[in-house]
């Protein structure tokens, strides 16, 4: 890193800190909003925004000083963290573009280059950003290494091949066999463990650094701590009224996905948990008049998070839990720093998307019980086929066997062109009337 880079990073970092202080001061001095159906958002979110902005800022001047890897959201990044890699998550970047209403233009740029509109909108958003150079984060550092894990979908395999071709850098693929049964068979764990061990030399070569088992163990320990905390945070929504909504969890998901394994992430989730406990102690719910509690299945609709959260809150509905946010907490118990390769092979085999539709149904049934759920919204996500597959049957079983109202809501996590406001509102209104 040059002196100029260092200075710019220092100045940017200081500016972000001042920005956070100002936001926190505004938050502490804010006047109550009696017209809002929601209580004030979580104060910790201000700190999360600073963390994520700092991460993207660091990425702007990281090239040359630290190795850079672009990774999928379900990738075994602890190995790369141990080697000092700066990690870029194209999916998180795409979601950020979605939340800032930039995804449509970026998707169009990818479509203009010949990518099908049927391709995942994360992939289109990100490829569009790559081709046009347009991004709300300034710039993304080019990768020295690409790490793709197939435990979330098969699209990533083709997406990362395009990235490898574009950047001319090595691509490491971790292939996770789909789990049809209750848990991974020993040979499947062995298959993934060997791939994790095999990726070390490739990651070392691209980084020009030597791997340390102690370093890896320490990262796994911190990843486990953060994942444990994340699960605890989500479980706080069992309280009535719930101190948080799933929309809060969607927004605060960034660090557990992108910065898992960092000490700062552990500290951040400790403070978020403390804030929730303080809310519970005061009896403050995220929704002022929480009358109905809903479970959300699948990714959020990033470009509608705010309006949808408010619309539901106006009707006394709190979406208290989601299968999506649980995915980053429920595997914490499998993380074992004493046997890091074996344990992480298990962890990366067991995400909800790499397991059967029956497993997801069982998970939803459990959550309906644990979170005292009055209704389930299954977001049928045009872009995420693996998540949406089986939802029709899952919905029917929830209605028939569990006796809970369930709604299939057609949308797309990042492409607003696949979302029909009037159709969605009509269904949601009828669903709320049905639950009331």
């Amino acid at each position: 890193m040059t002196m100029g880079h260092r200075l710019r990073l220092g100045a940017g970092s200081a500016a972000l800190r001042v920005q956070r202080w100002r936001a926190e001061r505004r938050y502490d001095r804010r006047a109550p909003d009696p017209g809002s159906p929601l209580n004030p958002p979580l104060r910790s979110t201000i700190r999360m925004r600073e963390m994520m902005s700092r991460h993207y800022l660091a990425g702007r001047s990281v090239s040359g000083s630290r190795p850079v890897a672009w990774v999928t959201s379900g990738a075994p990044t602890e190995i790369l963290k141990a080697l000092g890699y700066h990690l870029v998550y194209p999916e998180n970047h795409a979601a950020l573009c979605g939340a800032r209403r930039r995804a449509e233009a970026l998707s169009s740029a990818a479509e203009d280059a010949g990518y099908s509109r049927d391709l995942c909108s994360y992939a289109r958003t990100d490829l569009g950003s790559l081709l046009s150079g347009d991004t709300p984060v300034g710039s993304l550092p080019p990768p020295d290494l690409l790490l793709c894990c197939t435990n979330i979908c098969q699209t990533v395999l083709y997406w990362y091949r395009v990235l490898a071709d574009h950047f001319g850098c090595p691509l490491v693929l971790v292939d996770t066999p789909f789990l049809y049964g209750d848990a991974a068979e020993p040979h499947q764990v062995d298959f993934v463990r060997r791939q994790l061990e095999d990726m070390v030399p490739a990651a070392e070569a691209a980084a020009g650094r030597e791997f340390s088992l102690d370093g890896f163990t320490a990262v796994v320990a911190r990843a486990k701590q953060a994942s444990d905390l994340w699960l605890e945070i989500l479980e706080r929504a069992r309280h009535r009224p719930s101190p948080l909504t799933a929309f809060d969890s969607f927004v605060n998901l960034g660090p557990i996905v992108d910065l898992r394994g960092d000490q700062a992430t552990v500290a951040f989730y400790e403070s978020l948990l403390a804030e929730l406990d303080e809310r519970i102690a005061r009896g403050v719910g995220a929704v002022k008049d929480e009358r109905l509690r809903v479970l959300w299945d699948n990714l959020p609709i990033w470009y509608r998070i705010g309006p949808l959260s408010r619309w539901l809150a106006e009707r006394g509905v709190n979406v208290v839990a989601s299968t999506y946010t649980h995915a980053w907490g429920e595997l914490a118990e499998m993380m074992d720093p004493a046997e890091p390769f074996e344990a992480m092979a298990r962890v990366y085999l067991h995400p909800i998307l790499n397991r059967s539709t029956g497993h997801k149904l069982a998970a939803m049934r459990r959550m309906v019980e644990e979170f005292s759920i009055d209704g389930v919204i299954l977001h049928s996500d045009r872009s995420c086929k693996p998540y949406s597959l089986g939802q029709i049957d899952q919905r029917d079983r929830l209605v028939a066997d569990v006796g809970v109202p369930a709604l299939l809501l057609e949308a797309d996590h990042n492409d607003p062109r696949s979302y029909a406001e009037e159709q969605a509102t009509t269904r949601l209104e009828a669903f709320v009337e049905m639950m009331s």
């Binding site: 299939l408 009037e422 269904r427 009828a430 049905m434």
Partner: protein, 257 residues
């Protein structure tokens, strides 16, 4: 003359309906018009018409439903078509059952619980093929009036297979069949069958329970009624005024406050 105690307005995509009921829920007056672009003005005029022709009890309330419900300015409450149709049909049936409502631009199937409230529902998504528009559009292509379709389909005769359930693609199929010399009535039967297949799949989705009722404009089509009944091996019950079910339900909900 009995005074109006509740009014339901159903501002649908194709037609605009109003039903007024007395305190016992009996229908006092009804109105049905083709939907105009200015929904607020049209519904206000319809209400004025009802009020000038009948006595209105003090404290009478109005519930609006249908796509245009948010534009009905005088409404005390706005409720979705799902809840209103369930309420309207429950009043007719007096017990739980399943309702197939095929409107101009959407179709819905509602399983009605023992309390008269919707227990589950499903609506067609982003496609006109399961709706009244499908028949209107294809009837237009064959040069027929939509009101005549049902009678022609109910008559015995051969049937062509229409493989597609997409409105636009169905038109291509009609053109191909006509070019091959197929009979118009046989094509019509195939079109009705393809609509029915789609609806029956929706009916099965909600775990339907008899009796099966139909409402909405398409319920007047004898061909669709017969085919649905045949596919589900059940009798299809249609209220006297199937297009007014939603407005009737809204009027009954208005009585409840």
């Amino acid at each position: 003359m009995t005074a109006i105690a509740g009014i339901g307005i159903d501002a649908g995509s194709t037609t605009c309906k109003a039903v007024a009921v007395d305190p016992s829920g009996a229908v006092v007056a009804t109105a049905l018009e083709q939907a105009l672009p200015r929904i607020a003005d049209q519904t206000a005029a319809m209400l004025d018409g009802l009020r000038s022709a009948h006595d209105v009890a003090p404290g009478a309330r109005c519930v609006a439903t249908g796509y245009g419900r948010r534009l009905v300015e005088c409404a005390d409450r706005r409720v979705t078509e799902i809840t209103c149709h369930a309420r309207g049909v429950f009043d007719d049936l007096g017990r739980a059952g399943t309702l197939v409502d095929i409107g101009g631009q959407d179709s819905k199937v509602i399983r009605i619980g023992p309390d008269g409230r919707p227990a589950d529902f499903v609506m067609n998504d982003k496609c006109a093929a399961g709706t009244g528009r499908f028949l209107e559009y294809t009837a237009g292509r064959l040069g027929l009036d939509v009101a005549d379709l049902g009678g022609r389909v109910a008559a015995p005769g051969s049937e062509e297979q229409i493989t597609s359930t997409c409105t636009v693609f169905a038109e291509s199929e009609i053109i191909s069949l006509l070019a091959r010399g197929a009979e118009v009535d046989a094509i019509l039967k195939g079109l009705h069958r393809s609509l029915t297949v789609r609806l029956v799949a929706m009916v099965r989705t909600v775990g339907w329970e008899p009796p099966l009722m139909m409402s909405g404009g398409v319920a007047r089509n004898a061909g669709v009624r017969a085919m649905i009944g045949e596919a589900l091996d059940t009798e299809v019950i249609v209220p006297e005024h199937p297009q007014l079910t939603g407005a009737h339900g809204a009027a009954l909900l208005a009585l409840e406050g």
